[in-house]
Amino acid sequence: MAIHTFIDILKRALDEEMTRDASVHLLGEDVAAGGAFGVTRGLADKHGATRVRNTPISEAAITGLATGAALAGIRPVLEIMFIDFATLALDCLLNQTAKYRYMSGGQLTVPLVVRTQAGAAGGAAAQHSQSLETFFIHIPGLVVVAPSSPIEAYGLLKSAIRLGEPVIFIEHKRLYTMKEELPQDFALPAIGKARVAREGTDVTLIAYSAMVQTALEAAKELESNGISTEVIDLRTLLPLDMDTISQSVSKTHRVLIAHEAVQNGGMGAEIAARIGAELFDELDGPVQRVGCPFAPIPFAPELERALLPGSHHIVQVARRMMGLESV
């Protein structure tokens, strides 16, 4: 068993999928040079420059090109360097990519994966630190996946490439250097299913992407406070796996949702609304959210730290939910 960083394991997943299926092609700014984070380094040498293609800085056109190629039978894996710039691709993703199958009355499908980097990672400031998954969960026709660790990324990326739908695949920058051992026997996870990352009985803590790691830390600390926390890793944000959530909530009766994105109008809002409507009678108290306060990400580290939600916020809210801390 080998230990892999998030970066290495993504590369491995891409490499294996390209080897398995000749229609898989990589596209994006600097991808032949490895991309901004080195994920695709070496793949051009191995699979050829046609299948690993550098593009100009034209987010709109390369997303359109990838969509058109997907409609024509290629399986592109497109990298949009930062999710902050995915807005440049959003017209295409919203108005073409996501709607093609529906608008054509089922004649066409768009087997496309858009990999993109999200999240704050220390001083990247307001235009390189955002968590914008909410834009995508509001678009019928898309699938949104956000892995929480190297192993998760490996399986989910492979599943996403094989799915045959347009998938937005969100990689958190802070996870890139995280290491994990890849087990030898490994069943690919199903897109659309969440997983229980840690079992517990008092509070259901729902997270995704890097926040799952933060949630696990918080859960540890909460354990020493006598609070047993069940951590759910959503894996797929769209569609949302309410079954897994519901099973957990029927056990704990308390829910805390944590994400790095701005709280207002964030993913947590939808989850809280669904739980509030579908599991109302199961709840012993209000569903709580921990998210980013309503401001852009500031540059100075003190400010960035002050803004971003961390495990201490989760611990504090969870303690309050258990009556261990006053409001």
């Binding site: 058109g68 409609l71 024509a72 108005n95 073409q96 199958r101 066409l108």
Partner: protein
């Protein structure tokens, strides 16, 4: 091709009548007056060549070979329509005939056409992609991004601009001080020509040359066809922004009249031409009767085809 011109002309006339009668949902855009571009270009395309078009795309789609009845059925929202009534006038798709799609977003699918061209190149196929668009679309950044990509990767793609001098109600000189769309191709060394888009003979010959160049592996080509929007921007547009003189010039420019004169001069008897026109009229009328008699989509199927995988469907919020 004379027949196809009439088919399109009468098809658009039929759409206009049905729209006036309230049978067409939304706001269809007619290609009346611009038929020669569609017919002249599509004459050189095979089914495997991918066609993308704009909001004004009925003509292109018919010229590419789509069925009159299924196209009209889509435009009036029937289950037997090309897209089962999901798409409508601005979103026609007919994969069987290589019609990969129309779009209501100006310039919104130019890069998709480049993607089709890239796919053909990557798969070692010999087919090409054609994108039809208006002059207004050249204001959109993605048009320029796509020119760059197409020239950089030598994509087998034909850009066809129908320059009708208007974007909605605003004339071209308020959109750009670049007189000719072909000028935009020059920095990229994309071969380009500005031609008379109302003369089918010209369009046919120039499209032949452009497509031959693309098929020979010389990369993209941009054809700017100067043409004339005989109808308003959409059905119902009163066109107060156009001068009487301009509208009067219409008959002179009409591509059907122009081709008719050519053919008569070439010795084709008028009776033959008249017969074609009558046949086209009958075809359209028959297609229209059948399309209008067709079933409307079942509301219970409204959630079909959002996703491919039924598992995603089942659990999607």
């Amino acid at each position: 091709m004379y027949r196809m011109l009439w088919r399109i002309r009468l098809f658009e006339g039929q759409v206009q009548r049905l729209a006036a009668a309230g049978e067409v949902p939304g706001f269809p855009h007619l290609s009346t007056g611009q038929e020669a571009v569609a017919v002249g270009v599509c004459a050189h395309l095979s089914r495997e060549d991918a066609l993308y078009t704009s909001h004004r795309g009925h003509g292109h789609i018919l010229a590419k070979g789509s069925d009159l009845e299924a196209t009209l059925a889509e435009i009036i929202g029937r289950e037997s329509g090309l897209c089962r009534g999901r798409g409508g006038s601005m979103h026609l798709v007919d994969v069987r005939h290589g019609v990969m799609g129309a779009t209501g977003v100006v310039a919104g699918n130019l890069a998709l056409a480049a993607g089709a061209a890239w796919a053909a190149q990557a798969q070692g196929k010999s087919n090409l992609a054609v994108a039809f668009f208006g002059d207004g679309a050249t204001g959109a950044g993605v048009f320029h991004e796509t020119l760059n990509l197409a020239s950089l990767w030598k994509l087998p793609m034909l850009f066809v601009c129908e320059n009708n001098g208007y974007a909605e109600f605003t004339s071209r000189d308020e959109h750009s001080n670049v007189n000719h769309v072909s000028h935009f191709a020059k920095p990229y060394s994309i071969p380009t020509k500005t031609i008379d888009g109302n003369d089918l003979k010209v369009v046919h010959a120039e499209a032949a040359e452009a497509i031959a160049s693309i098929r020979a592996g010389h990369g993209p080509y941009l054809l700017e066809c100067m043409t004339f929007r005989m109808a308003g921007h959409y059905v119902g547009d009163a066109q107060q922004y156009r001068s009487k003189e301009e509208l009067a010039a219409m008959i002179e420019k009409c591509p059907i009249e122009r081709l008719k004169r050519h053919l008569l001069a070439d010795g084709v008897p008028a009776t033959v031409l008249d017969a074609i026109q009558v046949e086209a009229k009958n075809e359209i009328e028959q297609a229209s009767l059948r399309a209008r008699a067709a079933a409307r989509p079942d509301p219970a199927t409204v959630m079909d085809d959002v996703y491919t995988s039924p598992t995603l469907h089942a659990i999607s919020g």
